[in-house]
């Protein structure tokens, strides 16, 4: 990477928070499947809280990302446009999914909630692959 001698890369703050929604939303698919198979309401409640937590940390990620925008030291580590769009789609799907999960009873999960959870996980993996494949990886730890 073409870091100049006086460019000291900073740690992008958004990276502290971005993994939370990914982990939460992937677990939602697991708890939704558990509810679908067992009809045990505990799993439905898990899903609702995981969606809530994921969205909360998404909001923190956005705030952190805005702070990163004004930090020149993180300029080289910004995500690609594809990743940004992927994250936006994940967020939109999870938001709609949390409204679906806020319904009462079986139909709050089966079938629409379950389908949205699966779609969210699909877009998460797609976004992760795009992130890995983008050739802009910067080994920030070792200058």
């Amino acid at each position: 990477m073409q870091t100049s001698r006086n460019y000291r890369p900073g740690y992008p703050l958004n990276r502290l928070f971005v993994p939370f929604p990914y982990v939460c939303f992937i677990l939602v698919l697991a708890t939704d499947i558990a509810f679908w198979q067992t009809a045990n309401l505990m799993w439905q409640n898990f899903s609702a809280w995981l969606l809530f937590a994921g969205l909360l940390f998404s909001a923190l990620s956005i705030l952190a990302g805005l702070v990163d925008l004004i930090r020149a030291s993180t300029r080289l580590q910004r995500p690609s446009l594809a990743e940004i769009i992927g994250f936006a789609i994940i967020l939109a799907l999870a938001l709609v999914n949390s409204f679906v999960h806020a319904g009462d009873g079986w139909t709050a999960v089966v079938p629409l909630g379950l389908a949205l959870s699966a779609a969210t996980v699909f877009v998460i993996f797609l976004t992760l692959i795009l992130g890995v494949r983008s050739q802009r990886t910067l080994n920030w730890r070792t200058p």
């Binding site: 309401l41 995500p79 938001l95 976004t127 992130g131």
Partner: protein, 460 residues
């Protein structure tokens, strides 16, 4: 680790999708609620909006001199003001009126993020601003000279656990707190109660105690008490175990306290009253939410011994609710269709029969229903008292508005709950949000020759 910087337009996209969802719900609603009043309501297909319809009326209270509006031939006055959430009114055989004031019990566990939001909406709709008077009190109102004005006021019982229903017979005052039926020794005329109660029978209480109001009625022969126990959820989202002995009306033996389920499948029954002609037990029931603004109609119905009325598996007879899993076809087949629909989300909580009152002709035989109103639609429904005419113990016509104007603009001045006939034969309406009991008498001032208690059945 991915390296996504969270784009600001994600926030924007989320905001826009929220707004557009809300806009969908703002669409004009061509459905005429009158189609759902009567014995044969029109039931549309269920709809599940992402954001359920919502319109919360902020409680502003009544200013000096303001009253609800009543039709010609009737006259409305404030019977008692400055109360603390009056829910039910009950007339004793000597004409004294008991006003039960209560607040919802605290401590319902938060099981889902939605519960926090629900709690916040409830606090707006019940008017939580400013200093609150102590509630959970039973107050006695006495109109000594029978002129329709209260002359004496005494707090009979305080620090109760969210009481709602009361009944009196054989020098015993029964109070349905949210977790038990309590029996107090009480002679008519007493203005204080100092003795400790005994527990006649425990009722399903907390910690989950979703529909917490327990109403009471006395059987015409005086042997049994009937207690209403509402469901523990909208539609079993707390599990079927939490619904044991709930969504039901209990029959309780006064002598032994032994109880059995008299009728079930009634989501949130209140306003228990015996029809003076047929001597059948009647109740008003709050039906389920989140199937759309025009489902499911709340209803008034006679209650058959052993009757099952559908909740949770079906509504209004055999209309299946797909939210309940696993489905139970056997229960759907058993479900009885209720007698009289009041239209959706009116939140009927009070019921009282007018026979033997001093009210003028159009209101001389029928049922008054207190419609508390709710926030589950984008247009207000309820927030009024209606009258259903009866003949020979059965509804005989269209419900008509009697006490209206609780809503002004988008604000609620009050919300009607319990219905009663006072010791002079006038209608009483408990207004919990307005902290008032309203008296609606004949405009010509006519009164009954002597008081009739709420539990008394003249001619028996």
């Amino acid at each position: 680790m991915t390296r996504s910087r969270i784009p600001p337009f994600a926030l924007l996209a989320a905001g826009v999708s929220l707004l557009s969802l809300a806009a969908c719900n703002e669409a004009s609603d061509p459905f005429d609620t009158a189609h759902q009043i009567g014995t044969d309501p029109v039931l549309p297909e269920p709809s599940s909006e992402l954001l359920p319809d919502l319109k919360v009326a902020k409680v502003v209270g009544w200013k000096e001199g303001e009253t609800p509006i009543v039709p010609e031939g009737l006259k409305i006055t404030a019977y008692a003001k400055g109360l603390a959430n009056p829910r039910t009114v009950h007339t004793l055989p000597n004409g004294d009126v008991l006003v039960v004031q209560s607040k919802a019990p605290e401590g319902e566990p938060v099981s889902r993020p939605k519960d926090m939001i629900r709690g916040w909406i409830m606090s707006i709709a019940h008017g939580g601003d400013g200093e609150q008077k102590e509630s959970n009190v039973v107050t006695l109102l006495r109109d000594t000279n029978r002129d329709g004005e209260v002359d004496e006021r005494h707090d009979l019982l305080t620090k109760l656990n969210s009481p709602f229903g009361v009944a009196w017979i054989d020098n015993t005052l029964y109070v349905a707190a949210t977790d038990a039926i309590l029996a107090y020794p009480y002679t008519l005329g007493q203005t204080e109660i100092t003795s400790e109660p005994h527990v006649l029978t425990p009722l399903p209480g907390g910690p989950i105690n979703h529909h917490w109001t327990k109403d009471l009625a006395l059987s015409p022969d005086g042997r049994f008490l009937y207690a209403s126990v509402g469901s523990n959820s909208n539609i079993v989202e707390n599990g079927l175990e939490a619904e044991k002995n709930r969504a039901a009306i209990w029959q309780v033996d006064r002598q032994t306290g032994a109880s059995r389920l008299f009728a079930s499948g009634l989501r949130n029954p209140n306003g228990l009253a015996f029809n003076p002609e047929s001597r059948e037990l009647w109740t008003v029931v709050n039906e389920r939410d989140e199937l759309g603004p025009n489902l499911v109609p709340d209803y008034a119905t006679s209650v058959k011994d052993g009757g099952f009325y559908g909740w949770p598996w079906s509504y209004y007879g055999s209309h299946i609710d797909a939210r309940v899993h696993p489905p139970r076809e056997d229960m759907v087949e058993k479900a009885t269709k209720p007698d009289y629909a009041l239209s959706s989300h009116v939140a009927a909580l009070g019921l009282g029969f007018s026979l033997n009152s001093a009210l003028p002709a159009p209101y001389s035989n029928g049922a008054f229903v207190g419609e508390h109103g709710s926030w589950n639609r984008n247009a207000f429904n309820g927030y009024k008292v209606v009258f259903i005419p009866f003949e020979n113990g059965h509804p005989s016509g269209k419900a008509q508005d009697v006490v209206t104007d609780f809503i002004k603009g988008d604000e609620a001045r009050g919300r009607p709950v319990g219905i009663g006939i006072d010791g002079t034969g006038a209608l009483l309406v408990a207004d919990d949000a307005g902290n008032t009991v309203w008296r609606i008498g004949a405009a010509d001032g006519s009164v009954t020759p002597q008081p009739i208690g709420t539990d008394q059945m003249p001619g028996l």
